[in-house]
């Protein structure tokens, strides 16, 4: 918060003062620095981002002839922001405290607490892992190592351009930065896969159809864009070091030849391009191109690395598509839909729903030096983000377009969010551990072996945990190579939530979980309240309490069963399944 | 004489080494002496007792007769017509004048005057589907066949009239051999079940268990294995069965094995292994009168000859062929010194287990 306001200040300063003055101003400010609230941070004349957001969104309402929904309730807010920033719903205790907190700025405070929590960094690591690696299986770098690297980066609020630059330039040799090389390495350095993924994930342009010819439908995606991008990566190859580790090396490339399948005789060449921008590359004497020539024993290192050039230029101001894409993706993560939609189709024929807002967001990222935390914070503070997903009475919600952001868009829980939330709300962590142990014990001989070795046992347990999460990923995640997409329901998902013995086990009473605790409560209203607070992060309304009472009365001969049914009905509800 | 080609020697093996008998075969000296080339892979080979001829079955529809007395390197080959598919099942009559062959579509042919002008004595449809193996009784009166219809049949050797119809196997029957005493017939199937039948009654006496040579591949949902080679020693006290174990589904062979059984008790006495547990199938085996056991085999990784003494499971010697082609079949020449090997790459190769006369005796390892 402090950093963000200071940098805003500095940026505005920088516009008007040359560098030495800025330096002085920096020192002055540092001396004067005290924690400031958001209201004071925005320098006079420069609108805070969250206000800009709301201004642009509101102005555009007229285009769709819509009016805004109300602000979401506190309960809706804490659940939504907890999921969006930490990947899990809030626990009952936190919810209760938040709901009963009378302070006017409690939402801001909550936001800051979440943004500075370890859970934030962990959640962003998972999100960015899935975003960048699209659930590909591990090859040379494990998901654990890679996520650890991302988590450290997000905990330190590493600027996003720096993070992406590291990922593009890492060669895997230096142990600390090795995980960053996963982007290249675990795609087996396949040129076409890299070109496609760099294009769509980092620049927001899906050049797939431009591989063989100019894109048939999108005038802006040209054949030379595809191949121009490929020049940067064409020289990258794997290299197996004597210690067995696979790293990246780079052969010298300067240009590639390509020909459209419709005109196979007309060959063209291109040097390295980032879309339309052709990069200049220093000439080198033939024979003098390498620091380390390619050989079987030493990895090739060129004097001038195109991959380094890519890493520098792609995230720089010379490539505005990067900032636009990242701004759009971060926006989509929070608001449930990009300003450009689909996320990978930035082009003139698919304009953003709010062009000026996208510019503003991109500018913000650049000017704050890609400060992700600050950016997300501004989004959360906006009215647009805090809108209810319910329309005003009398308005048909289906008539309000998603791209107007007049009503909050509902998102599905990601597989990881669902897993962690289910486990938490049912209070089944203990039971889950027992389930894992029971599975390991099924094979007596192996279990005996494992128990003798602490490390092996720990690994066995964490492998089992990973397997359970994998079940969720298979059922609730996106297909391999595809981004986490919109919510989609399916039959196997339902069967799993309804009948999977392990999951249903979490709902049934045992090991001190929620159901077990609820079942021994004498007061039926209390049962309702605790159940709703734990599972749905809110208080029940009167009808809901009534329903609970009636059902518990009917089931008085088997209270545990009755409570189980009630708890399951909540976790299986759309309200739980969706981020609303 | 053709140029001797010293074969690659292999690494040391532990355990008791084999010591060649005086004037006997010396496995360590094994060298290639002749290549009888053909344009199709060879599946089976048999010496005829005068050693002048070698009979072979190949990946075509002929029984090939090579005249080794022909001076040319590759020998004179005469294809005998009559079969409608590949021939792997092959057995000489004890008098050395006739040959029984069976093909992949179930035809059994008995050839007479094989040393002169071979002709089919009879030709019958003996099985539904492939005949995988054929054996002639020691008295020369019966021919036994084993096939893909899970059946074992015994025929009169002179006319090809059915004498016995032996049911009991529950899968393809891969191999068959008469016991040297002529009173027993042994058949072996894909799943490693060996059935001992009494001759002449055809009564089923007992089963022997060679299931080590069979695996069911869960991944590929298919049966893998089978007794590929089978041979009794001269007095019938021992039986050798060959194949592979622990097979890796249908993409790779498993580990070559030769199983030794004591005939009297029917028990497995030894699991003979190749030197480095090569990925290979052992396809054929012979008991050498000098007391060692030799098998041929291989896979696409290479072709091999392995040598064991029955007391030691580890091969005391291994010869890897220059050609990366398995030895599908093996036969011992009447002189006990030469091995004929049927190779996939289209040659019958003759290996002599004896140092070349001009060269000093090969160092024993």
């Amino acid at each position: 918060m402090r950093l963000e306001s200071m940098s805003l200040f500095l940026e505005s300063f920088h516009r008007f003062h040359p560098t030495p003055m800025r330096f002085l101003a920096q020192i002055l400010l540092a001396l004067l620095l005290t924690p400031v609230s958001v209201a004071l941070a925005a320098p006079p004349g420069a609108e805070a981002l969250h206000d800009s957001i709301d201004q642009h969104i509101k102005t555009a309402f007229a285009k769709w002839k819509v009016s805004a929904a109300e602000t979401c309730t506190d309960a809706e807010f804490i659940r939504r922001v907890s999921l969006d920033l930490t990947g899990v719903v809030p626990d009952a205790k936190t919810t209760r405290a938040f709901l009963s907190d009378p302070s006017a700025d409690k939402r801001v405070k909550l936001t800051d607490r979440l943004l500075n929590s370890a859970a934030y960094a962990e959640h962003m690591a998972i999100s960015f892992d899935v975003f960048l690696m699209q659930r590909r299986p591990d090859k040379y770098v494990t998901t654990d190592e890679w996520r650890a690297y991302l988590q450290t980066s997000f905990a330190a609020n590493k600027p996003l351009d720096k993070l992406v630059g590291e990922i593009l330039v890492a060669d895997g040799v230096d142990p600390t930065l090795r995980p960053a090389a996963k982007f290249f390495l675990d795609r087996a350095v396949d040129k076409d896969t890299l070109v496609r993924d760099i294009g769509r994930l980092l620049l927001g342009v899906d050049l797939q159809c431009a591989q063989c010819h100019d894109h048939p439908d999108i005038d802006q995606y040209l054949h030379r864009h595809y191949h121009g991008l490929s020049v940067f990566v064409a020289g990258s190859k794997t290299f197996r070091q004597p210690d067995g580790k696979t790293v990246l090396q780079e052969m010298v490339t300067r240009e590639v030849e390509f020909a459209s399948v419709f005109e196979p005789d007309k060959t063209k060449t291109t040097g390295p391009r980032l879309l339309e921008v052709l990069m200049t590359v220093p000439a080198v004497e033939p024979g003098e191109e390498y620091v380390e020539k390619p050989s079987r024993t030493v990895r090739a290192v060129p004097k001038f690395s195109l991959r380094e050039l890519l890493a520098t230029k792609l995230v720089s101001n010379q490539t505005p598509e990067f900032a636009h894409n990242m701004a759009n993706r971060l926006w989509a993560k929070m608001l449930g839909r990009g300003l450009v939609h689909p996320l990978e189709m930035h082009h003139v024929g698919n304009p953003p729903s709010h062009p000026e807002l996208l510019e503003r967001l991109a500018k913000q990222l650049v000017e704050t030096k890609y400060d992700v935390r600050a950016f997300l914070r501004e989004i959360v503070l906006s009215k647009a983000y805090q809108r209810s997903s319910q329309t005003p009475a009398g308005v048909d919600p289906n008539t309000i377009p998603a791209e107007s952001f007049a009503v909050a868009n509902m998102k599905g829980l990601s597989p990881e969010q669902l897993f962690h939330s289910l486990l938490q709300v049912t209070g089944s962590e203990k039971m889950f551990i027992q389930q894992i142990e029971a599975t390991l014990q099924e094979d007596e001989a192996t279990y005996k072996e494992l128990s003798a070795d602490k490390e092996k046992l720990a690994k066995g347990r964490s492998d089992q945990r990973a397997l359970r999460i994998k079940e969720f990923i298979t059922l609730f995640g996106s297909p391999l190579g595809k981004a986490e997409g919109e919510f989609q329901a399916s039959l196997p998902q339902v069967l799993f939530l309804a009948n999977n013995p392990a999951v249903f086990g979490w709902v049934q009473p045992g090991s001190g979980n929620l159901t077990e605790q609820l079942a021994v409560l004498k007061d039926d209203s209390q049962v309702a309240e605790n159940a709703f607070l734990a599972v749905l992060s809110r208080f029940p309304n009167d009808d809901e309490v009534k329903l609970f009472r009636e059902h518990l009365a009917l089931g008085k001969d088997n209270r545990q069963a009755a409570v189980t049914e009630l708890v399951w009905s909540l976790i299986a509800s759309a309200e739980f399944r969706l981020n609303h | 004489m053709s140029q001797p080609t010293p074969e690659k020697k292999t690494e040391e093996t532990p355990g008791p080494k084999y010591v060649a008998k005086a004037d006997g075969a010396d496995p360590f000296a094994t060298r290639l002496t002749r290549e009888l080339k053909h344009d199709r892979g060879i599946l089976a080979c048999r010496y005829e007792p005068s050693s002048r001829f070698v009979f072979a079955g190949a990946l075509d529809n002929f029984v090939h007769r090579w005249d080794l007395s022909d001076e040319s390197e590759t020998g004179k080959r005469e294809p005998l017509e009559g079969h409608e598919s590949w021939v792997r099942a092959m057995c000489l009559f004890p008098d050395g004048k006739q040959l029984a062959t069976g093909d992949y579509v179930g035809r059994l042919i008995a050839w007479s005057d094989i040393g002169g002008k071979p002709s089919a004595n009879f030709s019958i449809a003996a099985h539904e589907g492939s005949i995988r193996a054929v054996s002639v009784s020691p008295d020369g009166k019966l021919i036994a066949t084993a096939g893909n219809d899970d059946m074992v049949r015994v025929w009169s050797a002179d006319k090809g009239e059915k004498v016995l119809e032996l049911a009991g196997h529950e899968c393809h029957v891969y191999n068959i051999a008469f016991h040297p005493n002529g009173k027993a017939l042994l058949s072996a199937d894909l799943k490693g079940v060996l059935k001992h039948w009494e001759i002449p009654t055809g009564k089923h006496v007992r089963d022997l268990n060679a299931s080590l040579l069979y695996t069911y591949s869960v991944k590929y949902t298919v049966d893998v294995g089978g007794i590929r080679g089978m041979s009794f020693n001269a007095d019938g006290s021992q039986l050798a069965c060959t194949g592979a174990t622990g097979v890796k589904g249908i993409a790779h062979s498993g580990s070559a094995r030769v199983l030794l059984f004591d005939w009297k008790s029917g028990k497995l006495t030894q699991e003979l292994k190749p030197v480095k547990d090569e990925i290979a199938t052992a396809w054929s085996v012979r008991f050498h009168p000098d007391g060692f056991i030799v098998a041929s085999g291989g896979s696409r990784t290479g072709g091999f000859l392995w040598f064991w003494v029955p007391e030691d499971p580890d091969a005391f010697h291994m010869v890897k062929f220059k050609q990366r082609a398995p030895g599908f079949d093996l036969d011992l020449a009447p002189d006990g010194k030469t091995l004929a090997v049927a190779n996939h790459d289209g040659a019958v190769r003759l290996y002599v287990m004896e140092a070349a006369p001009e060269e000093p005796a090969a160092k024993k390892k």
């Binding site: 599905g412 059922l475 329901a489 069967l495 013995p501 759309a574 | 075509d60 949902t221 249908i250 996939h344």
Partner: protein, 427 residues
């Protein structure tokens, strides 16, 4: 995309099974909307609903040992060829029952594709999506039919009767998990179709009821796309659970089970028939495994020995039941096998030419399209690309492969735009 032109009104949302035999719905023609349908209208509906049956021979079926034999050549192997019910056409002797129904089949001997992955998964995706997998994930046939052909009734739009170790897969790509194949691993009922052993039926019913009430409340004044989809998935699950005997092949008579054979593939074919009769739009049966790098002849003997009779039996049963006219039958494999016989008596992967077989709805049967040369080392006549076959699979059931999937504003062609259907195969 072309939907069935007759399908616009509720009247047509009726499952075939409920028309044919009132067993499960309990009344003549009571369908999803609970209306009685006049028999003549029913017949019309019946005639219009298209279904698809896919046989996937996994691993790479050898064309030599099946539909394109080359006996007595250096590549042909030891098996003979046998005449089929189509004069002049021969199959390998390993397929005697299939040979008898050749007049109801169309055989393509000149299938090919370029840049076919060496991996089975990649190559399978290629034949089932009509796109090289290097282009990124595309939906397989089943999900495509689920989206374009299925009328989202009681039953899942596409079901895959798979070998034991095959689990659920996101095979619908951008069409979304709603259209992903419902995988029956080892032909067993879907995972989690039985309620937990620890609860009774009334408890089970109670929890669904409570859940629905919760959803009703939640959906007030909210957009309905997600909540409807979610709700309907629960409805679908409950319907499926009620119909779970559909997956119990032991409910077929002993006689039928004997006709189809006791091994897995036989049972899976009978299960497929059961589901097609019930009205499932697309059923795929995968037979494992043909990847005979070693012992090609033994393994094809065994696998085709399993395959031949149940395949022919199922085909004939469909015909007998009058279902063949409206059911497209496709027999595919991801590549062929090498003409050269390898040292393990195996054959390796071979994409330059292989065979695919079709029958049923929309297909011109009783002939062979394309040819390979004398020893099967190359195509001699009328090459047919994998992508062209994909177009054909669409067109045969009345779908337009030149149409597009509309995915979030992105228009993705159903079939590869640079290819077209094989006119000679379409009736």
């Amino acid at each position: 995309m072309n939907r069935d032109p007759y399908c616009g009104s509720d009247a047509h949302l009726v499952s075939r099974r409920s028309m044919l035999s009132n067993m499960l719905t309990g009344a003549a023609g009571v369908g999803l909307v609970g209306r009685l349908i006049h028999p003549s209208v029913a017949k019309e509906i019946e005639a219009k609903k298209k279904q698809v049956l896919i046989f996937l021979l996994n691993g790479g079926l050898s064309q030599f040992e099946s539909f394109d034999p080359k006996p007595k050549t250096d590549t042909g192997g030891p098996f003979r060829s046998i005449p089929t019910s189509v004069s002049g056409t021969h199959f390998c002797e390993l397929m005697p029952n299939t040979a008898k129904i050749a007049h109801k089949l169309a055989v393509v001997r000149s299938m090919f594709a370029e840049k076919v992955p060496g991996s089975h998964g990649g190559a399978r995706d290629y034949v089932e999506t009509g796109r090289p997998p290097q282009l990124g994930p595309y939906p397989l046939l089943g999900p495509v039919y689920s989206k374009l052909l299925d009328e989202a009734g009681e039953l899942p739009g596409n079901i895959h009767v798979a070998p034991s170790r095959w689990g659920p897969r996101q095979d619908a790509a951008f069409l979304g998990p709603k259209h992903a194949s419902l995988v029956l691993s080892g032909g067993r009922p879907p995972l989690n179709v039985d309620r937990p052993a620890s609860i009774e039926k009334d408890s089970d019913d109670a929890r669904y009821r409570l859940r629905k009430i919760a959803d009703l409340r939640f959906s007030q004044r909210r957009r309905t796309a997600h909540t409807e989809a979610y709700n309907s998935s629960y409805d679908q699950a409950q319907k499926l659970i009620r119909r779970k005997e559909l997956f119990d092949v032991s409910q077929e008579s002993e006689r039928e089970r004997q006709r189809y054979g006791s091994h897995d593939f036989g049972r899976h074919c009978l299960l497929a028939r059961r589901m097609l009769e019930a009205g499932v739009t697309c059923v795929k049966v995968t037979h494992n495994n043909y990847d005979s790098h070693m012992e090609n002849f033994n393994f094809h003997l065994e696998q085709l020995g399993e395959f031949d009779k149940p395949f022919a039996t199922l085909f004939e049963d469909l015909d007998e039941r009058g279902m063949l006219d409206n059911t497209l039958v496709v027999l595919i494999t991801e590549f062929g096998r090498t003409p050269a016989i390898q040292p393990d008596l195996g054959r390796d992967h071979w994409p330059p030419n292989w065979s695919v077989v079709l029958g049923g709805c929309g297909i011109q049967v009783g002939g062979v399209l394309g040819a390979t040369n004398a020893n099967g080392t190359e195509i001699a006549d009328r090459p047919v690309h994998v992508a062209e076959m994909f177009h054909t699979y669409m067109q045969a059931v009345g779908l337009d492969p030149t149409a597009t999937h509309d995915i979030g504003g992105n228009k993705i062609p159903v079939g590869a735009p640079e290819r077209g259907a094989v006119k000679e195969l379409l009736s």
